[in-house]
């Protein structure tokens, strides 16, 4: 389980799970459990995903054509599905990322107006 104090854990903002899945898959195709783990580990266990909610999100992305699913095998040689980023998904990720940057920047400026912009 996570090593962080529960108080430091953050519920995911609505819609950001999709973004995180796409970002994780940018590193290469992988299966469901690995995606959940990657999100937790890469965020230093700050972000908490209710792991179940990953699957509706994955299927939603498949439906939109942003990722694809293919049969593969997991480390223990059992059948497991690999999720792979599609070209369309790659474009979407770029779009969403820049959107997110803008949003985060804007919110940061509002919350800390005194700080010089893009401070060294």
């Amino acid at each position: 389980m996570s090593t962080k104090d529960p108080k430091e854990k953050i519920e995911l903002l609505q819609g950001t799970l999709d973004l995180l899945i796409l970002r994780t898959l940018l590193l290469g195709p992988t299966h469901g459990h690995a995606i959940a783990r990657a999100i937790e580990v890469n965020s230093d266990d700050v972000l908490q995903v209710e792991q179940g909610s990953l699957y509706p999100a994955l299927h939603r992305l498949i439906k939109r054509g942003w990722i694809s699913m293919e049969a593969g095998t997991s480390e223990n040689n059992r059948r497991a599905n690999l999720y792979r980023l599609t070209a369309k998904g790659r474009k979407q990720l770029a779009l969403e990322t820049s959107k997110w940057d803008k949003l985060a920047g804007a919110i940061a400026r509002i919350l800390r107006p005194a700080e010089p912009e893009g401070g060294s």
Binding site: E50, Q51, G52, Y55, P56, H59, K63
Partner: protein
Amino acid sequence: MLQDLDQDIRDHLEKETRDNIDRGMPPAEARYAALRKFGNVTRVTEETRDLWSFVWLEQLFQDVRFGFRMLCKSPGFTAIAVLTLALGIGANTAIFTMVNALLLHPYDFRDLDRMAILWQDAGSDASVDSRYIAPADAADIAAHANVFDSMATYRCHSFTLTGASEAQPVNGCGVSANFFDFLGVAPALGRSFTPSEQEAGLETVTIVGYGFWQRQLGGDPNAIGKSIQLNGRAYTVVGIMPVDFNFPVPMQLWVPLALAPADRADRTRLSIQAIARLKDGVNAGQARAALAGFSARLAASYPNTDTRRRATLIPLRRELYQYTLPLFSLLQIAAGFVLLLACANLANLLFARMAGRQKQIAMRAALGASRRRLAQHFVSETILFSLIAGIAAVFFSFWTVKLLRTSISPDWTKWVPGWNGIRVDTPVLGFTIGLAVIVGAVFGLAALYHAGRVDLNQTLKEGGPGSMTRARARLRGALVVVQVMFALVLLVCAGVTIQGFHRLANVYAGFHPETVVKFEPVLPASSYSDATKIASFYRQLLQQTAALPGVTAAAVVGNPPASNVESDTTSFAVEGQPSSRRDEEPSADLQIVSSDYFLVLRIDVLSGRAFSDADNAGAPRVALVSRSMAGKFWPHADAIGQHIQLTNPGSASSWLTIVGVVDDVRQNWWDSLTQPTIYQPMLQAPERGLELLLRANANPVGYVSSVRAIIRQLDSMVAVTGVSSFDHQVNDSIGIVRIMGILMGVFGGLALALSAVGVYGVLSESVAQRTREIGIRVALGALPGDVRRLVLWSALKLTGIGLAIAVPVSLGVNRAMASLVFGIVSIDFGVIAAFTAVLVLVALAACYIPARRAMRVDPIIALRYE
């Protein structure tokens, strides 16, 4: 995809469990922690599945199955609900079959909505039958007015077909070569006309109608190329039109409209008819404005002929709607009222049913059914039974269509464009199903809204519904009020329509039409161009037919009453009453009649004298006027001895002396009785195309062969058509009014029945609910009379409120109808009073049983009941 999901989830959980074990948890706890972290597996699976499947469809099937079970469980409710709705929807479907055929698809023409009838007038109103245009002006407008894509011209007249045993008249129409292309209707067999066939001398080709082909050419598939004799010339058949082609009016054949170069360049006479297609994006108003501007240019260029002449147009649809639209709007509205009444009844039933199911709803809500899910559940149940009702309505409408089509004579209906299209087709089915679905959806949502305010706690507890009763009682009271209101309005509409129909029948009954027979001798234009010759033919015809044994009188007339044809109108000047401007000249119907006309139709001569044979071409010119005309122009003086001058364009007559006043006659059912009419004696104003009327002592049909023989002997080139008993003509002419009367009667009857059932339903339930209260009253000493009064009072109170609203409303509707429906309906307080009384009686009858039940309430049982 979804099998993979289960696999994925299993795999995920296994990995998480192993990770947990690696972190040092005992295996059982590791598994549990993995599950906890994953969340609710079932919910995740369902949520993912929802993404892929048409869940709503699955749920719909569930709901429909459930709804079906519910309907089967209470067959009584189902039967009543379906029957009520089927009547309501069926009434609308029946009317819609007519609206669909007659208003929406009167013709199968390309771009019907852009077509317009084009004509010129000299300032005064042109009646429907006198919309003509000068050929050269029409050509200029087509070429230069810039608002039309194309234009077709035509001129209809009658031909005489010879070659068979006896000369026969046929209705024909000379049409421009582009006529069929323009309308977008090709001959079913053969070809249409070519431009070269419009040249005078080359026009001896004809396209025949389906009926003509069947009857005259024996339906011969090789009829193309055959020759027929029309007006003594041989015409080659080049095409056969489809069965339902009947433009501009039902025609037996079409020939090219071949105008000699002089006629083509003619501007003096308005001699042809024109139909044009507006350019895409040009509306009727813009086209009218353009025509007005163009008329001014024509007037400037050709001052001798075109001054004061104004070209205008009416969209083809509008022209067709002139008489049918008000009629069918009225019927459709009435049918809508029937549906509303049916819905009010059904709402009552449904609310009662919902009250019984409140627990079920509350249970579903408590178990987590969302509002949307509940709505879907109820809506699919109500749509289910309204669809069943819709299907019943479709079957019902097959029957009404058959009734409609068989109950009016084809002699009349052939003049109604689209009548043959009255059938249950896709738009009708769509309308019915659409209506059923809408009604069902509204009911489902209303029922849910009603039930949605249920307090879960309150309802799930064993107790009674508490304060719900009061709200529901008020709602049901409102429904009764609305029902009584609709019922009265509908009954009044039905009453005045039926009354109007009877009055009409009686107007014509004044002629005693049953012993009058009508003939239309057709005088060929070629041999009867001369007035004296025409007059002499009719004089001989009248002398010989009047001499037939048993014939009491014979007359000829231009346009007999009940012909469903507008009379010719004429403008005229009154001596001593100069009108300042030409377009303010008064106008009146003009009738050419022979001397015994008033005797044949038994029209009273109120003062002065009728015509006699002495009023001939050599005698002073005389006229008779109708009572309304005399009252309008000489209100304070005697009309007899006054002088008028007919001022038709191009033919100002000499002054006529009025020698008598005759009673008003209603020309057609849509005309007002008080239309001013001028009568001229046939011998002073002979014209071709007069109709012969014979009054006989007995069965007039026996004279048909004698009259035919007389005419054949007078001139074998004169064909006889339109032979019918005048009685039939009168009956056929008001066929549409009769249909309307019957339909309105049916709607009125339905309204009465539905409102009676509705009032009864509400009252009997309210008595049932008040059993305890009544029990207490009886226990405290109320006498049966008091109880009866209590129940009656509550019924009369609701009925009274409904009537209080409905009386002024129905008066307003009555007034609107009187202005809408061509004077056959008049405002009638008697009808309103009578139906108000009927509804009060119905309400009293409806509460008789509940009142009886209330009086027999046993206080002991009532108080224990609870």
